[in-house]
Symmetry: C2
Subunit: 564 residues, 2 copies
């Protein structure tokens, strides 16, 4: 049972004994030629050098969740614990997970490497620099902007409008002061002044491209397709026209190889790529998923935020791009979080409630879960609910929820994987295995032939259950630009608050009778989707008053302290 | 003989056969426990886990050069070729070199990994990301600025004057548009607006600190000592007062371990750290040099720019900080470059000149070399001149120069190491070995007890042979601040043009009758020196009209193309 107050994830991680990564690789039948070690416990895998068949056949289990709450749901923890449990059950399993972003670590956020006894290791390294993938993405991204500004400075042959450059610099740092800047100040030798800004690396189009590219050639093609801005006469300008896409690809060529690590229990995990789940599609690289499918019979992977965002994008963007079908979807829920969806305030989470009150919150909050279950079924994939157990969940609550799920014919299991690792996830593993045996009837929500507006309508009415979509005047103009430029056949990447089915973060549970306002539509022609912005989306976080960085350091043995 | 037109360094590098880095390590008697592999051909060494004695006894050969010219001198090439030659002669030798900066690669600059058959490999990797050290430095640097801006945004308890923040953000990119920016725009939730800017990573104080730190604790202490700005009442504010030094140290803990690679001939090389030679001291990390001294009998290392800057700083800053004495100094010169110092224009370098004309340029230009020779002798260390042979050097020219050096009792050798590797450097190796047998009487130029002004005076009059120093009004105010804050006992890091002994880049050869103007004095209390700025010093390069990036890419096998 998860009890974060008693033991830190870092102390559990540091106490664990790791197998040499060569052993992990050997057990996963990865031939040594394909392995590039980074120290003793991390490695990159070169998919081109793998002996395994080129086309992966492994089944894909997607782990997603209810709409997130401040109570925490533990999707990564379930992803890891479920995989360990499947391995305990004798399955040949591999995890595919996102790499964590460095910046938020210094703010308030924990790592993205699971928790308790369901973690991927070495967590210190994975959370700090890892094998340098995000730094390579930062470099490639910023090379492009340096080339753009240099082009304008050197005479602007392409007639780029400095006011209409839509591609921003990035840093993997929470640095609010860089959100909005004026660059190129200081006179004629110091560039051309313009309004500019930085996003966090994980919010960049390069990150999205990195995670959707099939191979290095596809990566280069996607980079060349980026529309980074517009000319003074409003024509889109691509990287291909500017040049430099080759150099950007070169900067990314090593990073594109997936990273192999292991769980505390020794299960192999590919941790690779990590786009934001709002401005981008929020799951690990397609290359990692496909490589895992070549090496294992079952691949457990995760999508960011709740199922309305993460799972929808996984189905409509990633699975479509990769030409595969997810075979089961695990929806992670916790009693705490469901009670919050039912109206219980965060500061009351630890209060002792009588059973009746508890159940009343739960029976209201479960409507959030219900909608996610229906949505997953709508994709033709069977959902399995993982009830991630926390310390003060009562048996009454757990039993009520299990009965509620059974009534609706939903497979479900209580997972006690934070405290017990794979041993606490055996019931869940069984439910997942049963589901995989059943097969799936996967189909995406919309067709690529639908217009962007139609795609948004379908997502809003079918997945969010809103009454409809309102496009602002700006968004309507952009729909026109999209049609004119032939981008209407791109999938849509919704940028919406993760806390609600609606675009109002305060509407928990299963809200009805709302419309979604699309403020802006941003074509990401490299990534290959159109971002639909609803409400303000944060692409560069800030630091809190007392940043977590303030208590971090290195002990006498050179180990990190205060990391989590 | 160096003939860059015929073969590219990249094609030679890619055709070379590398030994597995484990073998290189084993030959260098590096115990496996201390080795952290990064792929098959790169590794980090953990000095704490080395079996070798803690105190290194290896002799140090510093490779420096005449004042650089556009003709190119080839210091790195000589460093590598000399080391290969020493190894051929049966010596236990190790190279300590700087890591190249990523940004300039996309502009016009070649790599910093040597050339021809005297290169360190794998050059693609070393020139691109390598083991991620510079990215870690970038992250640590930018975390500090994010913490500073966040502190001001959150209420500015320390009373930091946003106009007097002297610590800038960095990127490892040539991006002129970031030299001068206004950050924090967009209203009260987006930070506090102020003038700011980015330097290239190698110009950062963190890089200088990284290269002067004895160990991780010293690194943390130096970071804590950084004065990043001043309060509204002009008091210096340190990282220790702000907090976050521990997190910055944590970000650097793995990077601080030196990187092991090899030359084309298989000689072990530690390539680690790379501060600018103007705003900083311009040599590889002290940790790499000291680690090499534990593992080898002879360590060949290099300092940036000409001997007036690189060697002086090596002696007065690095050797002093490390408590070691250089045992020999190799001054690299080329016929071409000396002729340029004698007045031959760059575009005439390839013209056929009659012997008399050639020698007349040479006999004038050699005065530049002469002054560097005298300066090295002044430090109590014996110089050896390496004449780095180029394709169209004539025998007459080479013989004239050898005779001139012999007359003055200077050890010298022609090195044909670009074309022949170590085999072309045997004569040079012999001269160096003779010098090492003689021992040295090393003493730095100035005492730490001298004031900063006195130190600058000594450098200018003794090394540059100027008539004296003029401090601007601003510099005089800064001298006062330095004295008041107790920073007068820090060594001085001169930031001067590398092209001339004077502060006028156009005065080649051995100019006389000049004074040096110190415009500004910048205390780098973390690095532990005071930078004396003479003239404009570029800390963020720009890209040329047609950046080298435009012809770079990846071929079908995933190899870099167009890198050099």
């Amino acid at each position: 049972m998860c009890n974060m107050e008693e033991m830190s994830d870092l102390s559990i991680a540091q106490a664990a004994t790791l197998k040499p990564i060569r052993e992990v690789a050997a057990e996963a039948e990865i031939n040594p030629e394909a392995l590039l070690q980074f120290g003793d416990y991390k490695a990159k895998i070169d998919p081109a050098l793998l002996d395994a068949p080129a086309e992966g056949q492994g089944k894909v289990v997607l782990v997603t969740g209810i709409s997130p709450t401040p109570a925490g749901e533990g999707k990564s923890t379930v992803t890891v614990g479920l995989s360990d449990a499947l391995r305990l059950a004798g399955e040949k399993v591999m995890i595919a997970l996102r790499e964590p972003s460095l910046g938020p670590i210094f703010g308030i956020k924990g790592g993205a490497t699971g928790g308790g006894y369901s973690q991927v290791l070495p967590m210190e390294d994975i959370n700090m620099h890892f094998t340098g993938d995000f730094h390579a993405i930062t470099s490639a991204n910023n090379l492009l902007v340096a080339l753009i500004d240099n082009h304008i400075h050197q005479g602007n042959e392409l007639n780029i409008d400095p006011r209409r450059i839509v591609f921003r610099r990035v840093l993997d740092m929470n640095d609010r002061s860089l959100r909005s800047i004026v660059s190129g100040l200081g006179g004629p030798t110091e560039g051309v002044p313009r309004e500019a800004g930085f996003d966090i690396t994980v919010a960049s189009e390069i990150m999205a491209i990195f995670c959707l590219a099939k191979d290095i050639q596809d990566l280069q093609d996607r980079i060349d397709n980026i529309v980074f801005g517009f000319t003074y006469d409003r024509k889109p300008v691509t990287v291909k026209e500017l040049g430099g896409g080759g150099a950007m690809t070169m900067l990314l060529k090593e990073a594109l190889k997936p990273n192999l690590v292991q769980t505390i229990a020794g299960t192999p995990a590919l941790v690779h790529g990590g786009p934001f789940a709002n401005i981008a599609h929020g799951c690990n690289s397609l290359i990692a998923t496909q490589t895992a499918r070549r090496l294992a019979d079952i691949v457990v992977t995760e999508a960011g935020f709740g199922a309305d965002l993460g799972a929808e994008k996984f189905m409509d963007i990633k699975a479509r791009a990769g030409g595969f079908a997810p075979d089961a979807v695990v929806i992670v829920a916790t009693i705490r979080a469901l009670k919050m969806h039912g109206g219980l305030a965060k500061d009351k989470l630890k209060d002792e409630l009588d059973t009746e009150t508890s159940i009343s919150y739960l029976s209201e909050g479960v409507k959030n879960l219900e909608r996610h279950i229906d949505n997953v079924r709508g994709f033709g994939v069977t959902p399995v609910v993982a009830i991630n157990k926390f310390t003060n969940d009562s048996d009454d609550e757990l039993n009520w929820l299990k009965a509620w799920l059974e009534e609706r014919g939903v497979k479900a299991a209580v997972a006690d994987i934070w405290a017990k690792g794979g041993a606490g996830g055996q019931e869940l593993a069984e439910a997942v295995l049963n589901t995989l045996d059943e097969g799936n009837n996967f189909k995406p929500l919309y067709e690529l032939e639908d217009t962007v507006a139609e795609k948004v309508e379908k997502i809003v009415t079918t997945i969010y259950r809103g009454d409809g979509v309102e496009f602002t005047a700006a968004a309507k103009r952009q729909l026109k630009t999209i049609a004119e430029n032939g981008w209407d056949d791109l999938p849509v990447c919704m940028a919406k608050t993760q806390y609600s089915f609606s675009d109002d973060a305060a509407l928990l549970g299963a809200p009805d009778g709302f419309t979604i306002t699309v403020r802006e539509l941003i074509p990401k022609t490299g990534a290959g989707f159109v971002v639909a912005l609803t409400g303000a989306v944060m692409t560069m976080p800030g630091l809190p008053k007392v940043p977590a960085a303030m208590k971090m350091g290195v002990d006498e043995d050179g180990h990190a302290v205060g990391l989590f």
